[in-house]
Symmetry: D3
Subunit: 123 residues, 6 copies
């Protein structure tokens, strides 16, 4: 796994744990609900992950994009499908999305080059 990806994961996991231990019930419930929302229902998991990805991209959140790119790859989404999802985000969200697109493709290359991370964490 690339250094940047590993660092991102370590920080996310450490802080998620720290936040869940902090004892605020609303935040804990939000995290549980967030996980639940991407589980299989009428729509399969991979479609839901694509939805999470495009939403993260138009809202321009690099960490969320990284998370959903990794999850999409875990669910077997192809690079071509990811690029089409990026194209929807780009057209809906405009050129302001381009810097995030650059980082998303860079992250995708890192994921493709290395091992897929094994666990699926929060947000």
């Amino acid at each position: 796994m690339s250094d940047r990806l590993a660092e991102f994961r370590a920080f996310r996991e450490r802080m998620n744990e720290r936040i869940l231990e902090a004892g605020n019930l609303e935040i804990k419930r939000f995290f549980a609900l967030d996980t639940r929302t991407y589980e299989a229902g009428a729509l399969p998991v991979r479609t839901k992950e694509l939805l999470g990805l495009v939403a993260s991209m138009v809202l321009r959140c690099d960490d969320c994009i990284t998370y959903h790119v990794v999850r999409c790859k875990e669910e077997g989404v192809t690079d071509e499908e990811l690029l089409e999802t990026f194209s929807v985000a780009l057209v809906v969200g405009g050129s302001i999305v381009i810097p995030h697109l650059r980082r998303a493709v860079d992250m995708l290359d890192r994921v493709n080059a290395g091992d897929l991370p094994a666990e699926a964490g929060q947000g």
Copy 2:
């Protein structure tokens, strides 16, 4: 077709025509690209419409939501699938999405109650 839906369509079609006639090449190309982006590719049209819908919802654009809800229904998306798409938008975008969710469900009810509009226009 409900009055509100009919009014929305009429204004959209009239203004799209007006804008395309105004002679700005970049705007014309953007409109063409926008249409193209939702055509079948590695991802089927219905998945792309769901992507357009969730992006519109987290960016909180009622007209865009209405447009994609109509298109999703034309593509045979079920109400249950739409509700799951709404739930992703709600969790990603937060309670600020709720007023748009109310209007989206209201629009869905109007679409379900009436005839489906026949044409698929711009944006």
Copy 3:
């Protein structure tokens, strides 16, 4: 109660009910969590309502602003305190907030002129 305020409430209540009956569990849980978040805790209800108001204002959601202005008045927040909350929203969010400020003050005048609505609904 002013017509605009009454209309807003009627639509909100009707659609909230419609949405909760639609059977999507994640949306139901989100609505429950949303209500819970404004209940008294380490911070009193009126501070939480002010937080909800300023967040709604910088995110520029008129329906959310209306809802929290009504709730703030129910909790005994003074007009002077509301204006200071508006001033924080204006300085943080910029002149783009001004049209929402105009509608917020108009809504505040309507609330002050009429009876306070009795119930506290969703979002």
Copy 4:
């Protein structure tokens, strides 16, 4: 002047007056600063109005767009220049800008069809 434009102006002027009389000093200063920012400096007024217009458009604020379209026409900006400004907003902000573009062009047509409003107000 078209009805919609006249209504917009009347509400804006009435509420601006109401807000300035409400006695919150920070809000008053913000309004004064807002006016000042568009006065001639190193950049001429018409360039500053174009800047205000494109910023309003990517932030998707219809009232702000209407205000700046009117001001641009008062400053002698041509329709072709306005369309190019719209095209920058569209490419930067994406298809989510299209519904606002439709309303902006509609408003421009109303301004072109009628008398230009005489005064230049707040925000």
Copy 5:
């Protein structure tokens, strides 16, 4: 004081000074107004800082969040009150806020572990 916090402060102070010396009157007035807005009025300083914090969080600005977390601690806000403020931001702004929540809690831990910075700067 942690390195990251110290670095943030040093850059902010150096650039604020640089900007105020640049001679643009509107920017100077905005900075003065920004400071003024958080001074005691009908609402106490600590409530205003909580308002600034929640607004910064839903608008997802890490530097602004850091600034207001530090100011809140200076004003004696407890960690429990901060967590409830975070929960309002999370529910209003959605899961897109989570990466900022992680960094906010990390920053809070750094502030709690070290000396509180003595000065209160701009924005």
Copy 6:
């Protein structure tokens, strides 16, 4: 050229090339359209770059701001004109823009201190 500026350029150019080679036609067309939009028309290039800059600033995209600051300097925009453009962004977008203003002025200082980069790339 400063290290940070050089690094930014290298990553942008490498990833733009990578993205254009990835074979998604919609993304390629968007990139072409993006370039075209800033070419001379009814409005001169320097005005269009100022429009791109203010739009990037209110949407708070550091990479886009850096790109347009560099392009503005290449087009002979003065520091005083840039500061006025920043002031419009600040007043329209609010204090949430301040951290980006700090980084923009820092980047402007780096551009002024070094050689101007020779090429004009994408987004």
